[in-house]
């Protein structure tokens, strides 16, 4: 009976995450609450997990020199309206390994859910990880998300991440990502969030460019409307020669929404260069009037403009 329940939960998770066609060649993991419901691995990928009272402890390793052909699919979530999911995730990509992870976090019925993630990611020499995290929330806004990720980017390795929360009500988000980047390494982290209703969004991202020729780009694009509010603080610290960095915080506000954007830049070597840009404003009137002069309603035009910012 329990197995049937598990199968039904997997189906609901995958349906709400819009994940289908998971062939044998695609590694995938499904975690509902504190239970690993599904796990399929491919050569070179190791995943160990342990259930905790209110979550799961996961260790992920991509072995030395392994270049995973297909993205690994992760599906995290809770189908019921209430609950807690705490994920402790340790990821290591060994030397010369390459992988793409696609994580979908889905809480389609959430009314009072906490999703807390504490992740450590280590990329050894010449490793490359691309990590997409997409959230799908229901319409009630009852989700508290606290993703904290620490990334170590070693020599000549590369970390690219995208965090996206556009569908449903964001709820409360407290996102903290920080990366230490060593010689010739690079990070490129993007967050795109659409806040509505009474959502509260806080983003703190930082990249510490520790060694020569390391690079970092931090991009946060948010749109907030209704009574939501957003605070973005992205920081790059460059300590070594030829480090390059860029911080980009852009927010569109509508209605009674409020937004704060703080790009922070510290450069401690004269041969390093870090730039920043920040903009908060309502929808640009010229963009709006251009689209309306093609026949779009104001709402349709705003939706298109916001979707562009959040791409």
């Amino acid at each position: 009976m329990e197995k049937n329940n598990d199968l039904e939960l997997i189906k609901q998770l995958l349906d709400s995450a819009e994940l289908h066609d998971l062939s044998d060649k695609i590694a995938h993991v499904e975690i509902h609450g504190n239970k690993v419901l599904g796990l399929h691995l491919v050569d070179g990928l190791l995943i160990n997990s342990k259930s905790l009272d209110d979550g799961v402890d996961i260790n992920i390793t991509v072995e030395k020199g392994v270049k995973l052909e297909n993205p690994v699919r992760f599906c995290f979530g809770l189908i019921p309206p209430d609950g807690v999911q705490k994920l402790k995730i340790n990821t290591i990509l060994k030397e010369d390994a390459e992988a793409t992870f696609i994580a979908v976090c889905t809480f389609p019925n959430a009314k009072n859910i906490q999703h807390i993630m504490d992740a450590n990611i280590t990329l050894e020499k010449n490793a490359k990880l691309t990590y997409f995290e997409r959230h799908i929330h229901g319409p009630h806004g009852g989700v508290t998300i606290v993703p904290k990720t620490k990334v170590i980017v070693k020599e000549n390795s590369s970390y690219i991440s995208e965090f996206e929360l556009i569908k449903g009500d964001a709820g409360s988000i407290d996102l903290q990502y920080n990366a230490d980047v060593y010689k010739d390494g690079s990070v490129y982290m993007t967050a795109r969030i659409y806040g509505k209703s009474y959502d509260k969004i806080k983003i703190l991202e930082s990249a510490h460019l520790i060694e020569e020729n390391s690079a970092g780009v931090l991009i946060s694009h948010l749109a907030v409307k209704d009574n939501s509010n957003a605070m973005v603080e992205n920081e790059i610290v460059a300590d070594a020669p030829y480090c390059k960095g860029h911080v980009d915080c852009k927010e569109i506000i509508q209605g009674n929404a409020k937004a704060v954007a703080i790009p922070k830049v510290s450069v401690n070597d004269p041969k390093a260069q870090v730039t920043h840009e920040a903009a908060i404003g309502s929808v640009d009137s010229k963009q709006l009037e251009t689209l309306m002069s093609r026949g779009l309603s104001e709402d349709e035009a705003v939706d298109l403009i916001v979707s562009g910012l959040l791409k």
């Binding site: 689209l291 002069s293 779009l296 349709e300 403009i305 979707s307």
Partner: protein, 265 residues
């Protein structure tokens, strides 16, 4: 110009902003299927006229009336005017971060003017034909390679000329009844100018009406008929060939005091 049908009629149009009269009791008629030019020195009210016809914010508190296809549009929103078939190509096209060329063209074709369907059999209706064809057609019309451009964002990475051409493509797929082009030749290269000329010719062939707001003699030559504005007033009108004298005579028909505009080409 025998018995042309009036598509747009402006009656005693006056617009005041910040204590200044920008348009002053303007009366004119725009004929269906013709290319009209609105010429005049800087500050004459040419762009103000264009923005007022489109109903942009800041250009709506008017006296007088604007009649389009026998309907008063002075109280209509931009959207409603556009849905009647009026559109405006801005002097400096907007930049849209993250919006691709294909998104922009699809949005522009969403409410394409159904009245033109029969005349424009060449362009398939967005609702029944596939969107790829519309995008391809629009981009080829302005000389841009669809493969190269459709996924690009309409942002700062495009040159002014490219954005101008993409804006024209967006108007082409919209199939408007009345196209107002504000300074269509500003900030673009010779190649782009040729595409603009060709697309205006196409609009005319297909029965659309075009208003070119310009202070370029070359652009005026594309028109059949022109209006000369100065100080927000209509000071002359006539066939394009008659209006060319404006450029050599430095605004002679106008009785304004002061140096004629030195930017006139």
């Amino acid at each position: 110009m025998d018995n042309p049908k009036t598509l747009l009629e402006v009656k005693n149009l006056t617009l005041k902003k910040d204590g200044k009269t920008l348009l002053n009791s303007l009366n004119l008629e725009v004929w269906e299927g013709y290319v009209h030019a609105v010429v005049g020195p800087n500050g004459a009210g040419k762009s103000t006229f264009a923005n007022t016809i489109m109903g942009l914010s800041g250009y709506r508190q008017i006296e007088g009336d604007i009649i389009f296809d026998e309907v008063s549009i002075k109280d209509l929103s931009i959207e409603k005017r556009a849905k009647l078939g009026i559109t405006l190509a801005f002097q400096e096209p907007a930049r849209f971060e993250g919006i691709t060329v294909e998104d922009f063209l699809l949005a522009s074709s969403k409410y394409s003017n159904s009245k033109k369907e029969e005349k424009r059999a060449e362009i398939p209706n967005a609702s029944v034909e596939n969107f790829d064809h519309i995008i391809e057609k629009g981009l080829l019309k302005v000389g841009l390679d669809p493969i190269k451009y459709r996924k690009r964002a309409v942002d700062k990475n495009l040159s002014g000329g490219e954005r101008k051409r993409i804006e024209l493509a967006s108007i082409y797929v919209m199939k408007p009844e009345l196209v107002i082009m504000d300074e269509p030749d500003s900030g673009i290269d010779i190649d782009s100018l040729n595409y603009i000329y060709e697309i205006i010719s196409d609009f005319k062939k297909e029965g659309s009406t075009v208003i070119l707001v310009t202070h370029s003699q070359q652009v005026l030559r594309w028109a059949d008929h022109a209006f000369l504005l100065c100080g927000g007033k209509l000071v002359d009108k006539g066939k394009m060939s008659d209006m060319l004298k404006y450029f050599s005579n430095k605004c002679k028909p106008c009785d304004h005091i002061g140096t004629p505009d030195t930017d006139i080409k």
